[in-house]
Subunit: 546 residues, 2 copies
Amino acid sequence: MTAATTVYDRDLPKTPANFLPLTPLTFLDRAAATFPARLAVVHGDRRFTYAEFDARRRRLGSALKAHGIAAGDTVSILCPNTPPMLEAHYGVPMTGGVINAINYRLSAQEIAFILDHGEAKIFIVDSEFGALARAALGQCKAKPLVIGIDDPEHEGGEVIGEIEYEAFIAKGDAAYAGEPIADEWNAIALNYTSGTTGNPKGVVFHHRGAYLAAIGNVVTAGMAANPAYLWTLPMFHCNGWCYTWAISTVAGTHVCLRKTEAARIYDAIAKHGVTHMCGAPVVMNMLVNATEAQKAAKGDRSVEFYTAAAPPPAAVLQKMEAAGFRVTHIYGLTETYGPSVINDWNEDWDALDAAERARLKARQGVKYQVLEDLAVLDPETMQPVPKDGEAMGEVFFRGNIVMKGYLKNPTATEAAFKDGWFHSGDLGVWDADGYIRLKDRSKDIIISGGENISSIEVEDVLYRHPAVFEAAVVGRPDEQWGEVAIAFVTLKPGGEASEQELIEFVRSEIARYKAPKKIVFGDLPKTSTGKVQKFKLRDQARPIGI
Amino acid sequence: MTAATTVYDRDLPKTPANFLPLTPLTFLDRAAATFPARLAVVHGDRRFTYAEFDARRRRLGSALKAHGIAAGDTVSILCPNTPPMLEAHYGVPMTGGVINAINYRLSAQEIAFILDHGEAKIFIVDSEFGALARAALGQCKAKPLVIGIDDPEHEGGEVIGEIEYEAFIAKGDAAYAGEPIADEWNAIALNYTSGTTGNPKGVVFHHRGAYLAAIGNVVTAGMAANPAYLWTLPMFHCNGWCYTWAISTVAGTHVCLRKTEAARIYDAIAKHGVTHMCGAPVVMNMLVNATEAQKAAKGDRSVEFYTAAAPPPAAVLQKMEAAGFRVTHIYGLTETYGPSVINDWNEDWDALDAAERARLKARQGVKYQVLEDLAVLDPETMQPVPKDGEAMGEVFFRGNIVMKGYLKNPTATEAAFKDGWFHSGDLGVWDADGYIRLKDRSKDIIISGGENISSIEVEDVLYRHPAVFEAAVVGRPDEQWGEVAIAFVTLKPGGEASEQELIEFVRSEIARYKAPKKIVFGDLPKTSTGKVQKFKLRDQARPIGI
């Protein structure tokens, strides 16, 4: 059907009074105007009210503009979860510029690639990563203006660049109004995907999507006004899953955290009345394995904890609950602005036993309200798989919190959006109740003797063993079986378990063919976001000569 | 600045995977898919789960389509707060049609005007208003297909039309997917403004605005999942302030209510665990003046109450708090999808005394998160008035929850949107903290002896008198003073106060010149939304010959 003209299409055009670009910048405008005296940012001994936070990001914006930043210019930043990182999430986009928060666990070479590919005009660098940034700048063609951050909360490191951050923003105008955002489809952020082989892809977010993702987090979390949010999740990860913008929507307090350590976390929870936090399972492990003295600071306070990246193992969930954290499992990709799927809890499940609750909570769940479509489809036919919890398909997304595309990579963008859906590359099943359950990244399925082994399933069993701190399972090529499962395990401090004991433990819990053929003990290589780098483990597992 | 092409504009077009029209229809899709067994609608002894509610609106949609309803076609409905009214809020827009919920307190002549002006193709009529609808149909040129609702919860009345509602939807398809919404700017609803002289204007909402208004209600209310919402506010009023769509966003229960009466309300609160409700001050009056036996049913339960249309008087607020209702004052117009301004409460004010808290709560407040701009401007210069609580200006709105415009009325639309702002016609001041405070509709300011008298201020004093149930103050032309104030007062059952006593009471509280010259006792004429029809009172107050 064409858009035939009806009576409702006549004389009712968009006007400046009734059509404005959606942008998350308006959320901070409102918070600062409404609650100027409310605590916006805490960082060590520093405190910024909403009026101060607002003034600082306006100073930053106007200083960036004075240095030539305009619509579509990239400003890169290499910085832990500190005030300048937050300020950049508003100061950069208000000029029309695009914030590119870089993962500081990358190598100099990888960062050099990003500065070049993203065409960084300005590069803001925290002193902790001064040497890393300098090395990256030595390897790239881009010649951004470099601004160094000298954070009083950090000792050592190297403040690099032409000007120090505080001096830079001091020259800015605290009343700077920002440039009008010409179109809500304009880019707001550039986030490079991490962790796989080859050059990373630059995922572009637009203002419309960032607005909806921010408000989607608030609605999905049922977040009341004025939460205290602890920054255990790196802000360079999908702009802190868009919580950088969500927390301002509800005029909450951003509690900064340079380092994610159990003692600092419990201390911050106690001191600042933290209500919400996010993190990968590694953060939960840290919390439940903290010393009793560290845990004591928290008291009876209940804290909402949003976790993604891997399903929370049952044992960890139980300990988190016992420690007063309400865990919600969410799921998403950089390409979907971070979380866009939630394990929306059904109160009927409260009555189930702990194991069954954990099994249900390990599922990824259903779409956010602001995501239009989520489906498990057969990637050949693009037809939905049966909702039987068995039929495997690929997880597809469609909607307004799907990225604008990959920067300067039309081939990858077209492939990602083929057939009108975003192809996640994740494999999963659809349970009868419409909740999706990831089985694995396609490359993480181990096919052994013609049977599929889900590495997640095997890991889940290993986590139930009392001595296991972390576990990851990958496939190793095998002449007889095609592939066999190999487990990499980190034991708890003081925990003891032999290879044979763990293999027997798995065999006693699930089908024997799923048990790993070998256990390798040691630390697991991880991405900055807490995802185990399975490609490294696969390399390690690979027998000589294959 | 023009939209120069940057690297972020290249090869990153909108695609079906990452750009979909915003529409509140997706919220019900999600609720029904995620929580099919949850209670969606309660009406007397009837209960619909989300799966059933969803199936019924799909049946309605497909039956409407079979009867020719397509994009831009108007479906009018004259119905109290019952399931068919809710179903129409989804069933009509999913065909591309536009829902026109008509105020059933209008006259047949007024309804006839609306049916003609809105070009109604189908007219759904509850039996309670069968005779009214038949009279209206007799006076209009439009010849819509008429569908009569025979609600088992209502006795008497007249089921009119070609087919009964249940029979109509029984022929529909419960799996109907709906038509794609071609553009989020397409109309979703048509709401006629009420209460003033001349023909009413048809305010058009679009899908984008309805989506944002719905989600804005959720965020502004900090509403957690699964509220129980009692329908004390008519759904014909700005689509129930867009709560028709907001409640489905959080998979809440719609508790229907044919008649807003104290006994029914308290009964519903107790029976269905009501958590949220909305209403004009008249509903609050009803609640606080209920019998103790009626109130007892509620118990200790705390209920969120959103009120608009007039600032809640201090005395009523105190009684509401004592009765366990947390009152939030909101403000908006039909042209802003209902509420778009909120008295966002600052916890610092909790420590103030009751009178001061009431004074602060009587202010209209600050913009919703989803409204881009709210300002008090000098309508001549369009410059902001000083934020001093004194300088009077007109209240202006700008943003995505400002209407699409007035149907078939380009002159009124252009005037409303002149200079890039929506002109509300409401007069107010800006307090130092950025909260706006309405002084009056421009025509409700009484100018007496060169002094402005705010009718709201005088009414507020009258409400503080223990015998006063309701009060409204208007100006009467006067040879000596230009205008003088006249008060219309309804006393409480058993309340006693003489004219002279009330005039003295006002004089003892505020400047003598503000006291009414005359008190008229009796019922107040009201619009269906609980607004006092001051134009009727002004007519009544006018001396013969002027």
